[in-house]
Symmetry: C4
Subunit: 496 residues, 4 copies
């Protein structure tokens, strides 16, 4: 029955290129030039691993419906007799052996007392390339780290002697009642961290009654993630706008028909950023200097490869069109200055996310929370603070960070990497505990600041004088630091 | 005569649970669910150490009158024949052996030249869990460290050519004449550091003629501490307000009847803060992942366990009631912004302590001394600076810190941990030397700033421009720092 | 035929001093006192290496036409029979052996993802003295490092939803169209880093269509560098003004006649700065304390030795003279405050370079980009921003740095050391990749800031509040740091 | 002839205490209680080293005329036959052996390129106690380090195109023409660093034509230092005012009669500061915990012991008296705020030194140069800048520091420790080179800032915005830092 490994192995060149995924064979010869990740990565599998199974590498970066969607049926060659397919004898590298040992000695879940702890564990147990993809930021990662640091520039002015016996942390976001003012923001390639991918986050969000934003670049398919929702669970959709508006329209209207309650259009990524840590992690010593040829492929991390479809021409002129194709609330994700918030209000959108894409796009973009401090006074001056919902993401690690954002005027905050890390380290129980810790911290923080519900949070409860002083406590570029030879005092004479 | 170890050992379950403390047996079965520290910790001793003596663990966190107060007489089972009680053969851990060696090599007292030195010694000789309890702060311990750093943002503008031959450091606090403007502030669980507990501080305070504030959560009983006072020695009382106001009333009136001269109501702790260093120190590897069950118990340090009685509903409305039940001056401890100082004046209390609870409650609360700089100009503007006494605590380590606070307008400062550390390391001689060092430093500091008495200290003698710049010299969160992977330069090829 | 090594070897003293360079012998006896680098260095070769070849040491710091220009023909003694010249058996030092091994293991070019990476590689493969010459700065190197750090004080305020499909990074500089707004600024002694010297940069500049500025102190001769240009490639000339104006006039007019399109007069170097790292690298243990005598020589790096001809009396009064001898646009290189930019406009020059000479002259001079932020608002206020072209150099390492400078109002930026490093590590392919990386970064940065051409860059796109806060993130003097003995806590007793 | 070691050895108690110094015996029994350094240190030598020679310890901290001045002739017991005095067989400690090896391998003088280099060498070759005395500061040494850092907050705004061929660094101080605007300020106990003591500085000052200020607490006698001057060399006198004004009067009038040209009255030291590094270095493990008794002696460094005669009652009221007893210009040394400079002008003194005593007195006193920036604008506003000469000391290490002070308006700067260090490491050649380096740096700095004489230095040449931001770049207290236990991430399980 079906094809054999030997059959496939013959098609190992640009001229004829077959691959095996999930027990089926595909002829991708004609697709090679269109592959968003470049042809080289496919050829690598077709050529080097002739007739072997490509599933393991394929899986995390392709939603399951990818081949059906993008490869003509005629190229689906049918089932492969997997018993004829040579098993790749992966020799375990010393690095991988060390990782396995770290996994064996992983701290138990109860030892994680805060969101940073999950990150520490994830770093030690994740594959190097997966860690590099999740943890990397643009250029010198100044903005990525500043996102975290910026919250440290805001201090509290707590009220005392307020009855805080009962604390209500719930609020609404785009009309949805949630238990605590954060949502799970969209992050790509969930299966790099966990074999089940984004549906793990769906289930945890349900449990804690918070909203999940579904990423365009998910490892699971959109429908899988929607299907994982239960009852009246609310989900939003993050959208990279495709150059082909017909595709975009199809995606948006499908989402609305499936019950999505918000359309978050990413506006800070006309081109994906350079994440050098990710690039460097991809670099393999052997041969990379001899192949040459396919330039773009050479120094790219996962992210840039998968993003070639994004339309860099997207502009304000397109907003009315979006408003014409959907009734979902439209939120611009990645707004970075007050002028554009004003414009967003004027354009009639329902919300903005003040965000720099987790520090993965333009280095030296300001943190979302700093932009928030710039935005809200202007909105209030115009009495516009209720005409738009303002969200912020980037760097949130403590419930006190959430409280600070709400004091400034945010409706809620998005949290991304921490849930990826808790999922990568401990699966759904990890995400569950991470959310529970945030809830515990939030309740405590509300008590200690003297507020029993989130509507009581207001600017007089914080001291933001330090927020705009970029020059202080700013992360240092570690590359610049590492190449500086410090001056030294005179050296002693050599011993005789 | 009496019960034997074997008798007790049989009652080792939730259904029947007996423990031995100070040579007597108690049936705590019914008390288990009410135990502020959770049932698990009791069961641990009853079950694991069947029929052994629990005194050592019980002692530091329960004042001697605890069992009388909280356990019905019928559950007091009477004396145990201790010769029948199996001595626990504690195998000395390598950690403990190292600690014992450090104790053997402790620096002599005269080598401590300042308050930080005591902390260094205490850290090396205290038990890990005791050290963790004393030294920990909330969340990332930013506020805890900021308390210390904040004083470093205030600089002096000393006067010259003033006759400073004779220096008088004395002042009055709530009408009491003291030799130097600090008091021993309330800190919990003194026996964790020294077997005698808080009475050590009482004696040292007497010797140096300063006031001691008696903590609600002392290891000694309130009366023991009062009894340790001599002559006309003045003591104050720190109060966590109980949900049951009848208990609170009894405590307050008892204190007044015993001669307490001030009632310091803690207002910054409707819930005790999360102190992760403390939590982590409690974590024991073995078994903690298999027991499960009693959730709250799992990730709690000593502090949270013992505080469940505190009333989170305490509010401004309660102040008149306190004024109705006592004639003692009432001082609000833990005020954190000028608006609440104003309100305190209006409520007619006699004082406030600007404090963030030693950085153990809300992380990113501002330091007391910074709040002081916010408060005093407003009070002076209203000519209210004499209507209330303003104290500050947190981070005081040098007499120059005291001088800075007094220049700003404080009546005095509270000092807590440094005396715990000097007591833990060297007992009463340690506390004595710590206080003497402060006196020596204070006299020198007064001379060098050009003031011969504390009433001459005033705002023109300091430069506070740096005080409000939160973004600078702010402690970094070490967790965030430790999980960041810095970018690295290209790696050399592997050696062949 | 010709002289022999033995002939030369006899002339090894101040009284008669012959040297071999490029296979020819020269009698430099009379030239000794005039040698800009001092007589000692020549005597060292003549005496210590009697009759050996001095070419290797001579080459990088003398343009090929030096001997023709500065040594009378009568002292050219003619060809040497090199077979009679003893080959110097250089014993390879352990240091050099380690360097050779580092060279063997050099990362491949594709592993360099940014300009700092080249510096890291160059540091590991360059000779110590060459690295010291290139990498050193004045005094404590505060300004040198500040140049880099200053850019980190400027943050972005990106626009969103702008059509950035097509990005045009081209601009004009002094009328020349260039592909990207940087030029290769003048740096001395290119052959220290690469045997071919500055012509490598000429070729790379051609490839990327940017301007090269030719240094006065090049290793190649001026004409060699001009000759290396192709087609309509544009070059500028950097000028150290000679005390002898006739020489200066000859140089300038020759440059103009060869087609140079801009005359950059260096105004920040009336005396070359003290670069202690360079000095220290020159220090050789043996004998340096016994020779004595020639003072200036003793503690000088390469730079100071070669600069004695520069005229410290150059002043504003000389500008009209320059305008009278050339039609080339005149640009003052090294302007450091707004007052002098105003004066430059009034003097009628065509441009200024805000520069502190790469931090190699006056330590604590401000960074060029900070001066730029001081200059442009004043020019705009007077509507003078088009009367002069303003350039900036120093510290540029990322295209975002270029974008920041252009947002502030610069016409372009000069980049020096990064191209030296990429050339030293990888030759022309290194420079080529460095420039390509800048182009890639620039295109991405333009997209992400929301501008499709450089004329759209403007001050509202940046946040410069941090720029003037010198006290923050300022490099620390490492010498001062290294000599401080921190206070320590009491020491434990000695083990018995 | 004379006494024998055996004779002396019998008098080894408080009741009868003889010591040998410089070959003579003295009966100091009655003097014991009056000894400024406490009796214990004398008894130590009399008792422990019975009948041995105390000269080595006595020498550096007692000027040669001390015994004549303070011990009645009747107690001078006459010559000792030193052949009968047992030589102390000092067993060389491993520490001392290491120091001797460091001395053997000392860098040669020419390797010192700046003033910090001398400090690095001195630290490695000086005796630990001497280093501790020179290098220590008050409390946490924040002010001491800030003195150095404060200069780093001032940046230059250099002028270009100024004729700087000839540079004249000379100026006048109190009417004396000097070659460069620094003077050798007074520092105590020069023989700790060099056997000849302060006269080494006298000779170097002559060579470079700068003024030396003679310290009250010199190791050499006042007259020895005056005698070491040559020709018209100018010296000033630093004065600690004695409680006994008759002594003070005698000292002052003697100085005037010997030709002293300035009287610098120290006003920042009514009590000497606590220098814990110095104290700690004095601590000797053995026995210090068993002796007890003489409290003050116990935790004192050299400085406090020798200063008990200083009058803490000195006040503004005393100034007219000084003016009545001398015609020398009177300068107040240690002024620390503008109010007191105003008062000094009104009191009619000729100058002030803005100083915090090298950070050895009040920690958190501001740096002199910061006070200077506060003082000069106020003086200029009143047109008083010529009514008084303003000097500054503390932290000067580079000629750029001098230039900064002069730009602000100082007449000159005092330099202390750097000359002690260069003297301690290399003797007079060290001081000579240190001064020459400053001159070279100064000439270069003047050229590069665009000034040919010091009268051209003015406030527009500097940017002082960073100067008052205390919170930034402020030295951290290393004690506080070292005792903090950072939070850590969860620990991996133990290996099985």
């Amino acid at each position: 029955m079906g094809l054999t490994g030997q059959d496939i192995a013959k098609h190992n060149s640009r001229e004829s290129c077959w691959v095996i995924v999930h027990g089926k064979a595909y002829d991708v010869t004609e697709f090679l030039p269109e592959h968003p990740g470049g042809p080289k990565i496919i050829l690598k599998y077709a050529c080097s691993f002739q007739g072997k199974d490509a599933t393991e590498e394929y899986e995390p970066i392709h939603p399951p419906d990818t081949l059906d969607k993008y490869l003509d049926k005629s190229k689906h060659l049918g089932e492969v007799d997997m018993s004829t397919v040579e098993k790749e004898e992966k020799e375990e590298s010393p690095e991988e052996a060390e990782r396995q040992e770290r996994i064996a000695r992983m701290p138990i879940l109860e030892q994680c007392y805060n969101l940073m702890d999950f990150e520490a564990v994830a770093r030690s147990v994740m594959k190097k390339t997966a860690w590099a993809y999740y943890s990397s930021g643009a250029d010198d990662e100044i903005t990525m780290r500043e996102n975290h640091s910026a919250f440290h520039k805001i201090w509290f002015r707590p009220r005392i002697l307020v009855d805080v016996e009962k604390i209500d942390c719930s609020t609404t976001m785009l009309g949805t009642k949630v238990d605590i003012p954060f949502y799970v923001t969209a992050t790509a390639l969930g299966k790099l961290g966990h074999p089940e991918g984004e549906v793990v986050l769906t289930r945890a969000a349900k449990k804690h009654n918070v909203v999940q934003m579904i990423p365009t670049l998910a490892s699971c398919s959109f429908d899988e993630i929607m299907d994982a929702a239960e009852g009246d669970q609310v989900q939003w959709m993050q959208l990279y706008v495709n150059k082909d508006r017909a595709i975009t329209k199809k995606i948006v209207q499908h989402a609305e028909s499936r019950g999505c309650k918000g359309l978050f259009i990413t506006v800070d990524a006309p081109q994906l950023g350079r994440r050098e840590k990710d690039m460097r992690s991809k670099f393999t010593d052997v041969g990379s200097n001899v192949q040459g040829g396919d330039k773009t492929d050479n120094s790219q991390g996962a992210a840039r490869a998968i993003s070639s479809f994004i339309d860099p021409a997207l502009s304000w002129k397109d907003i009315p069109w979006f408003q014409s194709i959907t009734k979902m609330p439209i939120i611009l994700k990645g707004v970075q200055r007050v002028e554009d918030v004003i414009r967003a209000v004027e354009a009639g959108v329902q919300g903005v996310v003040l965000s720099n894409h987790g520090g993965r796009q333009l280095d030296f973009a300001r943190s979302g929370v700093e932009v928030l401090a710039e935005v809200m006074p202007v909105l209030r001056e115009r009495n516009w603070e209720d005409r738009i919902e303002v969200y912020v993401d980037g760097g949130v690690r403590r419930a006190t960070d959430i409280i600070k954002a709400l004091c400034l005027g945010a409706k809620g905050v998005g949290i991304g990497r921490p849930f990826l890390y808790s999922m990568s380290a401990y699966g759904q129980p990890g995400v569950d505990r991470a959310m529970q810790l945030l809830k515990d911290e939030m309740e405590m923080g509300m008590r200690l600041i003297g507020c029993s519900s989130v509507d009581q949070l207001n600017p007089t409860l914080i001291d933001t004088r330090g927020l705009s002083m970029h020059t202080t406590s700013v992360p240092i570029d570690t590359l610049g630091l590492s190449i500086y030879d410090p001056l030294v005092n005179p050296k002693a004479k050599a011993m005789l």
